[in-house]
Symmetry: C2
Amino acid sequence: MWKPDRQSKQPLYEQIADHLERRISYGEFPPGSLLPSERKLAEQLGVNRSTVILAFAELRSMGIVESRTGSGTRVSMTKWGATPKHTPNWSRYAEGGSFLPNVPFMRKIREALAQNPGLVDFASGELSADLAPIEEITALMSRHRYTSYLGYDNPQGYSPLRQALVAYLQQYRGIQATESSILITSGSQQSLYLVTQCLLSPGDAVAIEDPSYCYSLPMFQSAGLRLFRLPVDRHGARPEDIRSLYKKHRIKMVFMNPNFQNPTGTVLDMERRRQLLDVASELGLPIVEDDPFSLTAYDGAPPSPLKAMDAVGSVLYIGSLSKIAASGLRIGWMVAPHSIVERLADARQQMDFGLSVIPQQVAAQFLKSPDFQPHLDRLRMQLQFKRDLVIEALRKELPGLVRFTIPQGGLHLWCKLEPEVHDGKLLEGAIRRGVVFVPGSVYGSDSGFVRFTFARAPADRIGEGIAKFAEALRELTGESSVRNSTE
Amino acid sequence: MWKPDRQSKQPLYEQIADHLERRISYGEFPPGSLLPSERKLAEQLGVNRSTVILAFAELRSMGIVESRTGSGTRVSMTKWGATPKHTPNWSRYAEGGSFLPNVPFMRKIREALAQNPGLVDFASGELSADLAPIEEITALMSRHRYTSYLGYDNPQGYSPLRQALVAYLQQYRGIQATESSILITSGSQQSLYLVTQCLLSPGDAVAIEDPSYCYSLPMFQSAGLRLFRLPVDRHGARPEDIRSLYKKHRIKMVFMNPNFQNPTGTVLDMERRRQLLDVASELGLPIVEDDPFSLTAYDGAPPSPLKAMDAVGSVLYIGSLSKIAASGLRIGWMVAPHSIVERLADARQQMDFGLSVIPQQVAAQFLKSPDFQPHLDRLRMQLQFKRDLVIEALRKELPGLVRFTIPQGGLHLWCKLEPEVHDGKLLEGAIRRGVVFVPGSVYGSDSGFVRFTFARAPADRIGEGIAKFAEALRELTGESSVRNSTE
Ligand SMILES: Cc1ncc(COP(=O)(O)O)c(C=O)c1O
Ligand SMILES: Cc1ncc(COP(=O)(O)O)c(C=O)c1O
């Protein structure tokens, strides 16, 4: 991202005015379009708001932009020639389409992280660089020759990767599969997207866990699905709830994340797994099993997936390298009946023509390499270590004010805050102090929770991050009586 | 893909029965699901149909499958336990969703290529391995260290790639852009997908060229768009047609591929470009400019894009490395107003969490490397050489029977067949003889055309491929009087 040059002799505001003029003349801000607010630009460029105000004034004096109080600064319509020309109303197009934007909290977090990479990041659900097998992957890439043909790939994905996954699934997850039953996807995310877009129709009812990652995904709403909640307790979702949802709403599919569930860390109880599969087969109901975390089990004994116990073929199984290797590889997979794999491969072809062959080659080699198992062993230890750092810091900074169940795997700690505070204000205060987390409401219907991802932040900043969070929380609880009396 | 082992002592039919039993027991063919037809399996496995019949009989005798005349072979429902259990009706799910499958001809071609990689491929719109910069890319990858953090990427794509594209767009396309106005996509395909899904609503009218690549894309129909044709003549589409479509149908967007159009090879006339931009600005109508082929201009002077002439910001510009480097990289880009880039980046995040960082690093380095320009120079010469091979072969094999305009860039030759033949029968006959092409009807409303991609097949097989095509055509024209009299 462009930033003004503080060494330059040209004043900052002039640099900013020049930069904006360039972007306007390139069409990035077409005639009539709204520029970012003074506040937002100041944040992005790391300058005082007054500097942006001066830059806008400069542009205004040149007739390039117009400001009207309360409605921001717009690019002039007349700048572009004598006759009034019409630029498409781009902002109306941007609001069009049935595809919904991400939830506001997630966009806010993303913006905060983009503007200030120095934040302690308890929000991004991924591994830190030192936990990811970057060295192993770098070594693989420089050792191997990628001379294969770089053409459009097989719609199901790179065949050697599917072969490597057959062995991986059997060895690590007890799942029997053949190459032809595997679809390679851009992470679990694309698997979920394909399922919601291509196997379900608008108006269909589905069941999702509450809280759950699914709850944070507007793709379910974008697909026009009616969502019904499966409350998650300490042992996961309750199979009998599925039966009653089926009776009442004819749910068409169930989405589950049974192992170290995001965000709660819960493992679905073994007895419930059996009941769940019984209910599913009784009702002929498909279960989508999203299983990205199981190999992080700190004791080295990952829970067995539903798919491995599924005798009648009720389960669509989804896996990913994101949480056990690196999310930037964008490698996930689905194991599904033939008809489903064919359908989704065909649809994906139309959406993006499949994944790049290169990361698929890297992933295949990594899965087969002798580095893979030692990496997993190290990862589990490091995750447990970081989990303990967060817990220790919370106990020190907020004794008695947060409650949680200690997770035995996964990347997240799910906390109930004892004081009642306003989600959005807490997030804002935390960002101001230099830390981000995800408000629990993003994942479900109950308020008063937060999700701390302990995998992403460097170990030596976890204590500092929690201390900042504690400050933000205390500020609000100090304020809360004031807030309550004035609102 | 699994194939039976012809060296083994176990009879082929038994190997096939075992293999199918395994896939059935793994859930790939759940109870009640249909197995592939005898004919299709025989083709896939490279065995006689009688061998598959024996394998099915074996499975039937074990009670694993059931066959009913006329309705194929299904996996038994009762195989799976004493009490009848219910497997989800997967094939009904596979038929669900509003996302339409690819057009039948394209699926047929894909299947034929998957089953017989030895076909002479005039169908896949991409470069052959010797035309792609595989060596350059391999060298880049082994020289450089990919030690960067492999986390979830910036939603707009890898920043150094966007920087490299700013320089590329200026130098090669005369387009002024900043990093913040670029969205990296999985090829032009994903750009088109995002535009149709996120900027338009069901019922919206849009204009597409006829014939055109867009015509072959069910994504337009899947998004519920109403499509209106812009006939393409020797100089491209006619701007006045846009005006009348706007008057009649209030079209919301125009899709154009102005430079070496797929499939016709046409270059939009300079005068029409000016008129087109005038019409667009007069009506406030956005133009999506899909520009994957321009740098293949055989004379080294690519036509300038609409985007570079666009003074009011009407044009969304789409580019790709697929046709000038390698389609397996899956690297494309869009240059668009700020509001559009933000919206599409957010949506794409939900669909697949963005592209893998690795191919983006490769692409950034390749664009900046001293190898890039020499690669382009070589590519242009090789494409022209292959174009001439196809033309020479057509003149030799089918003198007077095909008509075409000689393209000055791109990967395709668009041919009108003089004899009237049945598209599907011609394709079938060609596949039987060992060659594939794309029937012209896939790209538009007129029949009697074929598209030959000359970039994909090895130069030394082009003559042979056209000879086989000519045989298939002659077989049908020999038959055609018979067909006409009996139908
Ligand atoms: C339960 C769950 N499913 C899917 C995903 C998507 O991950 P990816 O697409 O990187 O595999 C996440 C990421 O946070 C997740 O927590
Ligand atoms: C005109 C046109 N646009 C887009 C595409 C999609 O290509 P890619 O996604 O590989 O860039 C193609 C491929 O054939 C094409 O011909």
